[in-house]
Symmetry: C2
Subunit: 250 residues, 2 copies
DNA sequence: GATCATAGTCGTCTGCCTGACGATAAACAC
DNA sequence: GTGTTTATCGTCAGGCAGACGACTATGATC
């Protein structure tokens, strides 16, 4: 058989699913929407939807992200085009188990989005409601009310969280969780929330301010955390952290 | 519109494409097949094919890999089930530009395979011939005879090479390029070929033998490289290298 | 068989980075 | 003012990497 005979290929649906992460109240939170229809009706799921016929995968992910959160995605590498409401968006992995959707063959291209803390989420079209919750809520569903995520979304979320946890080690990705201007302490609390550990403020300060191009001071200061006023920084041009930030053992 | 209405989704074809890498004669080589039909007839391309209706993505990639090379893929994390002809296989990324295939909407889930040096490749079903060539041959197509890869395969190959280059820094992945038993020098030549740099033999030896669980001596020695006989090792259980192997600055 | 070339292996030294932690500074609450 | 909180600077010891010397064990060559 010719592998490109248009009449011979099996029919697939292609969707994008989003792992949208943010840091709220010192914990790493993910966005979930409640499913309004079968299967898994009433269960929580990752936001997502079909890729349209004329749409790139990244475009589809950015569109879904905007529909669900109002965030404007920007490609990694380029500085945020719309300061304040931009989000980091990157492809995560693709999930295509034949049985992952009971109705039909669906291949889902999962994307990972990282955003600063946001106002209350707005529900998307196919969801009765949406909410932020700590990732453990979905990954260790002890909570009777929440339950496990629909489809294979728990696996997708776990993969997205793991990607975020490892990528902030060697890149400036953690700044995607911060507003345009932020203090060293705020950035440290991002690392602490994502990794679930406590970091030494003095060593962290030395590391991030000593890495050329990582942080650029804006000149301003803030006292919004209480205590002594802290310098404000913006993310510098450096995207790779070399040597990396070391994640403490366990 | 309901995002899961089966009558509403646009038709997609889903393929897997393979970036198969090996180290031959001190250089990093990729497998390419010559296209036997339009479009890009006669041009070199990455091996690949359609995902079947009842097939997982990883299964499809493993099947294509076996068809093209005879290699038996094994999941990362588990030791090679078939010593000598096993290959590391992992998902790379998914490419879905609407115009990437001029005939129809094709989403390709690219996979990365790493294999020890192999005998001459055998041609797959849809290819007139297949060959190994240094990755630069395809990425910097100065060679008139070879030309650029078909479709977006140059980008896929570049992404696969970059994945391999970065992943051997912090994992034991480089052993996937080696036969079951290998010497420290052979492993070092893998790093040198993949990174295109020269490494200090003494510091490299100290690093790999000093990392617990990375290498386990088999007791044997070999002299196949000439010079003093070298100890033979197998890959140990450790899959992560902490601290990582440092890639020298360009 | 002596010499040479090649590769492998063990050590040494120096500089950089990290982790642990003391000390000081600048705000706010009372 | 005193206490609390957070930010920032400094010091010190240990670990690791880069540079490189030294020695070992083989095959090739004369």
């Amino acid at each position: 058989m010719s592998p490109y005979d248009p009449s011979a290929f099996p029919p697939f649906a292609v969707t994008v699913d989003l792992v949208v992460l943010t840091v709220r109240r010192h914990s790493l939170c993910a966005l979930a929407v409640r499913r309004g229809e079968a299967p898994f009706q009433g269960r929580w799921a990752l936001p997502g939807g079909f890729v349209r016929a004329d749409e790139d995968l990244a475009m589809a992910a950015a569109r879904e992200l905007e529909e669900e959160t109002g965030l404007c995605a920007h490609d990694p590498g380029t500085p945020a085009p719309a300061p304040g409401n931009g989000a980091h968006l990157e492809q995560l992995a693709t999930y295509g188990d034949p049985k992952r959707d009971p109705r039909m063959r669906v291949v889902s291209v999962a994307h990972l989005a990282l955003a600063p803390d946001l106002p209350a989420p707005k529900a998307g079209g196919d969801a009765h409601s949406a909410r932020w919750a700590p990732v453990e809520t979905f990954l260790e569903p002890e909570d009777e009310e929440t339950g496990a995520l629909a489809f294979d979304h728990a696996q997708i979320l776990a993969d997205g969280v793991e990607r975020a946890r490892s990528k902030i080690e060697y890149s400036s990705l953690a700044t995607a969780f911060c507003p345009t201007e932020f203090t060293v302490g705020e950035l440290r609390r991002v690392y602490e929330a994502v990794w679930g550990v406590a970091l030494d403020p003095r060593n962290f300060h030395r590391k991030v301010t000593g890495t050329p191009g990582f942080l650029v001071p804006t000149g301003g200061t803030t006292t919004r955390q209480g205590g002594r006023p802290a310098q404000l920084f913006r993310a510098g041009g450096a995207t790779l952290l070399n040597p990396p930030m070391l994640r403490p053992e366990v």
